[in-house]
Symmetry: C2
Subunit: 252 residues, 2 copies
């Protein structure tokens, strides 16, 4: 009647280590334990093991298997929840496959591995997380896939726009323009329009960036030396921030 641990393992296509594990976590105690410590399993235990292995084969975690077999949870409910997780995982995988595929073709076209020079050191997507954490913009899930998806020409166009905008800001600041001036406000308008065109920006799609996000970015332009450097120093960055603030308060 009673089988040894290895016999049971072979019969069910698993290992004795697994059975000991299931005993250790209380999932499948042996039907009998001899004085020597030897584990013995009867037919009921075999049936339970079959069920465990089937559910595990469907991808359920062991604690969940246990809840189902001990009738603490409806099998159908558990499986439905599991199905949702599986679909999430499928989506995640699909996105990852797309990203990897895209990166491979990009590399084969001679693109550098990274877009670390994208935006000429002015990569907002790399700082959105920080803006969000420090100034509480709405949550979003950015990424640089959209940038890598652009054609070389589009990228050049984009970079040129960024460079021009930055140069205009610097020029206005050096000239002593005030943040509230018409010129500064026009730059702020262009800046916001540009921000809104970046996928991942809070407000992207509505035509204008979220107010809190713009205010947060402005603060960071000043606070972060990398951004400040882009505008030729903290002085200029402060000017940009103030101009953006005025614009945001009045228009966003």
């Amino acid at each position: 009647m009673d089988r040894t641990i290895h016999d049971v393992a072979r019969l069910c296509g698993t290992t004795s280590r697994t059975l000991r594990h299931y005993d250790a976590i209380g999932l499948l105690p042996p039907s009998r334990v001899a004085g020597t410590g030897y584990r013995y399993y009867d037919d009921d235990a075999l049936v339970r093991l079959q069920r465990i292995l089937l559910l595990r084969g469907l991808g359920l975690a062991l604690p969940e298997v246990q809840r189902v077999l001990d009738s603490e949870q409806d099998p159908v409910t558990a499986l439905r929840a599991h199905l949702d997780r599986l679909r999430d995982e499928q989506n995640r995988l699909s996105r990852q496959v797309a990203s990897v595929t895209w990166t491979i073709t990009a590399l084969e076209n001679g693109d550098p591995l990274m877009a670390e020079t994208m935006f000429d050191g002015f990569d907002h997507t790399r700082y959105q997380d920080e803006v969000e954490q420090r100034w509480g913009a709405a949550a979003y899930a950015p990424g640089d896939a959209w940038w890598r998806a652009l054609s070389a020409v589009d990228r050049e166009t984009w970079k040129r726009r960024v460079t021009e905008l930055g140069a205009a800001w610097v020029a206005a600041a050096e000239r002593g323009t005030t943040p509230g001036s018409a010129e500064a406000q026009d730059l702020a308008r262009r800046h916001c329009a540009w921000l809104a065109s970046i996928p991942g920006t809070p407000g992207h799609g509505t035509g204008r960036p979220a107010k809190e996000y713009v205010l947060g970015l402005g603060e960071m332009y000043v606070a972060d030396p990398r951004f400040a450097a882009h505008y030729g120093g903290e002085q200029n960055a402060t000017f940009v921030r103030d101009a953006l603030r005025v614009y945001a308060e009045g228009n966003l």
Copy 2:
């Protein structure tokens, strides 16, 4: 120039713990370590971190990221291999989704959770692993999905065929038939035809089961009390085994 660990973490959207981990495994040593043990990172380290995070985001394991960044492996090659793994995982997930979906509908139709009574306790699919291990049949990947996919009518038909075949074996054995007799050999032929019809059987699809597999099964009918019981004891099982052996040697 040099940033503290937490600043770098915030800038790149990760955590200081992660940076310490990358230091510990030699993936990203700080550019400078003060006498106090404090870690400081320069711009080069930031760039490397960006690359690490991008590759990690694509799903590469850290040792692989390290090999790529240290130019020990071509990025495209690594990504292609990774893509293969991702596709395998996608396939696995698809199959699992199908299995879970099927199980859910089966449960809703009132089927018992398990098919542990399938084949009336004569489930070859449950023992194929053992046959393979002990007698070296070809590798295969069985499963009981095909059985669960059968309609109720099909299952009854199937069970009846199995029962009839078993009864015929028992009858022949009890009558004292010899393994090499025409009657026994005809039963062996039917038995092999039946085996070949089971998806997962080595040789399934060729119309006849693999010779080694049949020989192995015959041994198991005798060796395993569960199978032997199906034939009414070890005596009868031995008869079945011998008849199968004769048939297999002459026809497979």
